[in-house]
Symmetry: C2
Subunit: 444 residues, 2 copies
């Protein structure tokens, strides 16, 4: 094994599963290792306890007039269930072919360790960094970063920040430099309907009172028209139209064509808002999605009840400049308007997160693309992400800086799933990218 991989393999062996309290000592062990490592590089490193898992902060000596760069990553990982589906032990990193298999290999140890190796090499080769660097590594990303926002708010004065680097998103294809400049936001809610006060006999009562399962279906069906457009009043009011350059660029983007999307999902056909491509639907258009629907008998065979209650769990993916609270109010108003008097409605608000978009053509975006081109030898692909990373908009709000999303994850990385993996090439390119980027940022 090369020296380059040695530290990565060490951190991949820590069972830093943040959601399960039984693994708290392993999370702590990973944090302690990071503190020791970053200190050994000469960075001023501190471990910040939180009500949950600790946050690691490391800084070089900052000087006036240099860009303030914050590098973010997370050292916690997802659980490994179902363990039986792993071909190798998840916390014994194993190289098979040209890939490293381990929990966290891509998400996110492989990606942030590439940046730490870049810093180590720069410091070894040049003695110092050309930027004011702050490394921020948290241990709670996989459980929603509950303590990061309070930490940022309490410590923003010691976290000077012009630009943030995050490698925690995807590449569209192997060896294809990819820069993300947008994320969808989210607004969640649960809708419950109550009819009779207990399940009724569908023969003795069915036909004379409303059926909550039928009514929840009618409410869900009111969310879209036949063209896949969301029918909630005002839903699109704040949606920023797609720019022509984005539509042109995404028309060509690898992996988003019909055949690739069908192969990826196994769906019988594509379906979405009429007038938009898959890339546009995923990256720049909002959605109304049912995450769960239920009511009445769920077992084998039949049970002829008229259920007492039914529910649906909904999430709305949002794009700039939709606001999660505003969308929740519009959703609630929609259901109140569409619920007939013969059934009782309850809407419960769930979590929300703001959408995010930066200008990929500003000075930071330009140097990031230059760095990607240097490393990957091709024109970088500019994408947004369909998912939501609320901390990116929290960074913007609290620290005032945009984020360069320079993801190294491949579509088949199996993040959150058995046999998570990371190509050695991606790790090596990540190190190169980290070095190149800090150098070009230092010249701004």
């Amino acid at each position: 094994m090369s020296d380059l991989l040695k530290d990565l393999f060490t951190v991949l062996s820590f069972q830093s599963i943040s959601t399960d309290p039984a693994y708290a000592p392993e999370v702590q062990k990973n944090a302690d290792w990071l503190v020791a490592k970053l200190s050994s590089l000469g960075l001023t490193t501190t471990l910040h306890d939180t009500p949950g898992h600790p946050i690691v902060i490391a800084q070089n000596k900052h000087a006036e007039g240099r860009p303030n760069v914050l590098l973010y990553g997370h050292y916690d990982v997802q659980p490994v269930d179902p363990i039986d589906l792993w071909d190798t032990p998840p916390f014994e990193p194993t190289i098979i072919g040209d890939k490293i298999f381990a929990r966290g290999a891509t998400d996110n140890k492989g990606q942030h360790m590439a940046h730490l190796k870049a810093i180590e090499q720069l410091l070894t080769e040049e003695g110092q960094l050309p930027v004011n660097l702050t490394v921020l590594l948290e241990g709670e990303e996989e459980i929603g970063s509950p303590n990061l926002v309070p930490f940022l708010e309490a410590n923003k004065d010691t976290l000077p920040c012009d630009i943030i680097i995050v490698s925690d998103t995807g590449m569209v294809a192997p060896s294809t430099g990819t820069m993300g400049y947008g994320l969808r936001g989210i607004s969640c809610c649960e809708v419950s309907l109550e009819g009779p006060n207990s399940d009724q006999h569908s023969g003795c009562i069915g036909g004379a009172i409303a059926n909550p399962a039928t009514e929840i279906a009618r409410l869900v069906s009111s969310l879209h028209d036949n063209q896949g457009r969301v029918m909630i009043d005002g839903f699109y009011d704040d949606v920023e139209p797609l720019a022509e350059w984005e539509r042109d660029m995404w028309a060509e983007v690898v992996g988003m064509d019909e055949a690739s999307m069908l192969a990826l999902t196994g769906a019988p056909a594509l379906h979405g808002e009429a007038g938009y491509s898959s890339a546009e639907r995923l990256w720049a258009r909002p959605t109304a999605e049912v995450n769960g629907i239920g009511g009445g008998y769920q077992g084998e065979g039949s049970k002829t009840v008229l259920p007492s209650t039914a529910f649906c769990k909904l999430s709305f993916r949002l794009v700039p400049d939709q606001d999660p609270d505003d969308i929740y109010e519009k959703v609630k108003a929609h259901f109140e308007k569409h619920t007939p008097a013969h059934i009782t409605l309850k809407v419960d608000k769930g979590h929300g997160g703001h959408p995010y978009r930066s200008d990929p053509h500003d000075r930071f975006g330009k140097v990031a693309q230059a760095a990607l081109k240097t490393v990957f030898k091709n024109d970088p692909v500019l994408i947004r992400e369909g998912g939501s990373i609320p901390i990116i908009s929290d960074f913007k709000r609290i620290l005032g800086a945009d984020t360069l999303m320079l993801g190294l994850a491949l579509p088949d990385a199996q993040i959150h799933a058995p046999n998570e993996n990371f190509p050695i090439e991606n790790f090596e390119k990540g190190v190169e990218l980290g070095k190149t980027l800090i150098k070009v940022l230092g010249k701004l």
Copy 2:
């Protein structure tokens, strides 16, 4: 305790739960007791084994020129779960106030034992019966009578039958003689939709492919228009219109007014097919009911998946002359027509049963109403039932005879539930009804 109740209490102590094989000896014990009892009355009594629980047949000596009367009942009962909610032990019949509390008190031991007591008293008082009587008591009604149809088909020659008496339905109110002359049929199916080949991330994929939970809701919502009318092509083709005399009669029927229906169910308002009353909706109009709907995340909180599959379980209550197989084909065609190409449909056929209606004004109906009037001292109420009792139409098909449904169950009898009960008055009136009816049938 009166002598009249002694035999009833004996049979109520048998734990004749048909669905649980552990109780098979208790079911057998009940059957053996019935054989002994009916034999002791001088009836020719036989116990017929089946692949499940036995059928008891008892006949007096038949003579030419007398009406052939078949009395049907079932000596099996529902399970007693949840046992904690019973105020008295379910198999230790207990009188509280003027009611008998026990599993089976109403359904069906109390009702068929009233008829057996009537036969006993008639034989004691008159030495013989004025009709050719066949008593048929089965032990599998609560599990769908799987062996009754084969038994009827194999033995129809020894089961001469002009009219059938069944007390296994409801009275509209206490002390109100009630005759049922119709039942709804049923046609069940399960509809499954399949989209992507596994649950997808609602951010990364949501918006670009169809969501099976959304699509099942859209299919369910296609079942009804805004007036509660079923929108399946041809669904109402074979529906017999309500007669004017039925509409007039049911307009007055006790217990079916808005306040009673709301109190019974706890629903916030009534709802059903526009243009019909609750009684009409329940007894003479077909329905499309969702018994269960499901798909995606069912747990607490949120999980932002785009589910791979979704389903709904449907039952259609049918009225004369709808046919369960024909309705199933129309339902299937409806879903095939309404399912878009971006989702994969599967429809599985469930059980079915024919609707039933007799003429309450034929000669048997008239004498039954006369008997009810004699016993209850008021004009009997003529109703149909919203539920389905498939054996009634099986009797018609195999034995060629209609059924007089002379139910003694009250709306608060708690059948199939904890604290099942039967008023002593209903048992006593049932004995009187049985005697009166056999006497008037003997005069036909």
